[in-house]
């Protein structure tokens, strides 16, 4: 997966959860959850969406790696 594809995937997963949220508004280093005002259920939905699209397991201990946009891109683009 390229990093553009990763961002596109994140965008499409995010849409039903937070229709008005804009991924580009999340500053570097900022957590997605705080920047886009996601609660714990929203964030779990987000991770679930990514996991289902990629077939990755994404255990809870990996959540910290998924907390920022860069982290997500890195996670999604690196081989597992």
């Amino acid at each position: 997966m390229t990093s553009d594809e990763a961002r596109e995937l994140m965008r499409s997963v995010l849409h039903p959860i937070a229709p008005e949220a804009d991924l580009d508004e999340v500053a570097e280093g900022e957590t997605i959850q705080e920047a886009l005002d996601l609660d714990s259920i929203d964030f779990l939905q987000f991770v679930t969406g990514l996991a289902e699209a990629t077939g990755l397991e994404m255990p809870e201990r990996d959540y910290p790696q998924l907390s920022t946009v860069e982290g997500c891109v890195r996670y999604l683009t690196s081989p597992h």
């Binding site: 039903p16 229709p19 609660d39 996991a51 809870e60």
Partner: protein, 454 residues
């Protein structure tokens, strides 16, 4: 012949717009069918019907906005006419409430009431007490749709119907015309509204200014449609609606507030372990445990669960847990998870996720909007330490959870760091007191110490 009316989809709703009809004249409908989509200030709601019958006429066209209680359609009902107490078959099926996915536990098996409901005129009546009350108040049980367990007619249903017919009676006695204030009459003239066709909400059913304005608004659906078209307008309308309800709550409900800090170390480690074995789609969050504990605890303290209507509190057998959900546009909505105390954690989690998505995309069902017997708000995810909420009338309690955070915890002479949450209760002093409220919070705490049993 029956009327299908604009339902009240929450105590803060004044009017609704029919955006789609899903039936047409001649269609057969049965209890629980979704027949129309109605837009309120808050969202689009799929409206269910509570009778079996045939649609005769659609009174309000698509796009029409009418006040709560206005007739939307005429229906020929299929309730057989028999003497009260006669065997009627088939019994009215239990009301379909939740999402229709498979895998949910059968409600029938678990909830069989101890007194077997008897059918009267096709309506399920829970107890002889209710029948006697109906007789005394002169209420025709067959004309009621029950709000109790499995569609049973409850005491509150009968009392509501009796007070409705008293109001109508009072109006009829004054020569078939509703009484009205001089100002309302003048206003009706100005706005070109026919007074006799308005149902009044003033004292003894009299028509007051608000009723006239509402009727005038209803008569001009197109104009109003333009008015609510922008998202900003809708948001303002919603804010107003919430504001009005909260103002009423603060005016009428003598709130008392309690809080308790609950140690979540057992729950947190159980959750972590349990999520290890679950695929991501089945994982749980702490909020689910908090909701489940609340729903189960309230069974032990029934004066927190039910409705306070016209001076009387009616406890609810079932626990329909209203969950406050941010609509992200700035609005707040608290749809119900039906029978939340009967659900396992995985099922409860699935229902919460489903509700959140539907609340945001704006498609909820009418029963979800009007049924909550107690509400829970979980503002902790937004970072606050504790939240003391405002009770949603006609409910009598609201539970709030703050942020789960680590803090020093002293126990048995030892200080350790544990994840904790502040649970709060806003209670209605007309129905309960701090003693009972405290019992409720400690029951929640107790249940959270045994997460595997939730």
């Amino acid at each position: 012949m029956g009327d299908f009316t604009m339902p009240s989809l929450g105590a803060d709703m004044e009017s609704g717009k029919v955006t789609h009809w899903l039936v047409k004249p001649g269609d057969e409908v049965k209890r629980g069918d979704i027949v129309a989509v109605v837009q309120t200030e808050k969202s689009e709601i799929e409206v269910e019907i509570f009778e079996n019958g045939t649609i005769d006429e659609l009174v309000v066209p698509e796009g029409g906005r009418v006040p709560v209680g206005a007739v939307l359609a005429h229906i020929t009902t299929h309730a057989p006419v028999k003497a009260p107490g006669a065997r009627v078959s088939p019994p009215v099926p239990a009301r379909e409430t939740g999402p229709r996915e498979g895998g949910r536990p059968s409600r029938q098996g678990r909830e069989e009431p101890t007194v077997k409901p008897t059918s009267v005129h096709g309506a399920l009546v829970e107890s002889p007490l209710v029948r006697h009350l109906a007789e005394r108040l002169g209420v025709d049980l067959g004309s009621l749709s029950g709000s109790g367990l499995g569609g049973c007619v409850t005491r509150a249903d009968v009392e509501r119907a009796a007070s409705r017919s008293t109001k109508r009676e009072a109006r009829r006695e004054r020569g078939g015309r509703p009484s009205s204030s001089p100002f309302a009459r003048r206003l009706a003239d100005e706005l070109g509204v026919e007074l006799a066709r308005i149902s009044g909400t003033g004292p003894a059913g009299s028509v007051i200014e608000r009723d006239v304005r509402r009727a005038a608004l209803a008569a001009q659906p197109e104009e109003h449609e333009v008015k609510v078209a922008t998202a900003e307008d809708r948001q303002r309308a919603m804010q107003r609606a919430i504001g009005a309800l909260m103002a009423r709550s603060k005016r009428e409900v003598p709130h008392y507030y309690l809080s308790a800090t609950i140690d979540l170390s057992v729950a947190a480690s159980w959750l972590e372990q349990s999520n290890l074995d679950r695929p991501v789609s089945d994982r749980l969050v702490m909020a689910t445990l908090l909701f489940s504990a609340t729903a189960r605890a309230v069974k032990r303290v029934p004066e927190m669960n039910g409705f306070y209507v016209e001076g009387t509190f009616t406890p609810s057998e079932a626990v329909h847990l209203g969950v406050a959900i941010s609509q992200r546009s700035g609005g707040l909505i608290a749809p119900a998870i039906h029978d939340a105390d009967q659900l396992g954690l995985a099922e409860l989690m699935a229902r919460v996720k489903d509700l959140v998505i539907r609340a945001r995309s704006g498609v909820l069902r009418s029963s979800e909007m009007s049924d909550s017997t107690i509400t829970v708000t979980n503002l902790g995810d937004r970072g606050v330490e504790s939240v003391f909420g405002v009770i949603y009338p006609p409910q009598v309690a609201l539970v709030g959870f703050g942020r789960v955070r680590e803090q020093p915890w002293a126990e048995g002479g030892v200080v350790s760091v544990r994840p904790c949450v502040v649970a709060t209760l806003s209670g209605d002093h007309r129905v309960s007191d701090g003693m009972r409220g405290g019992r409720f919070l400690s029951e929640i705490e107790r249940l959270l110490q045994e997460p595997e049993k939730l």
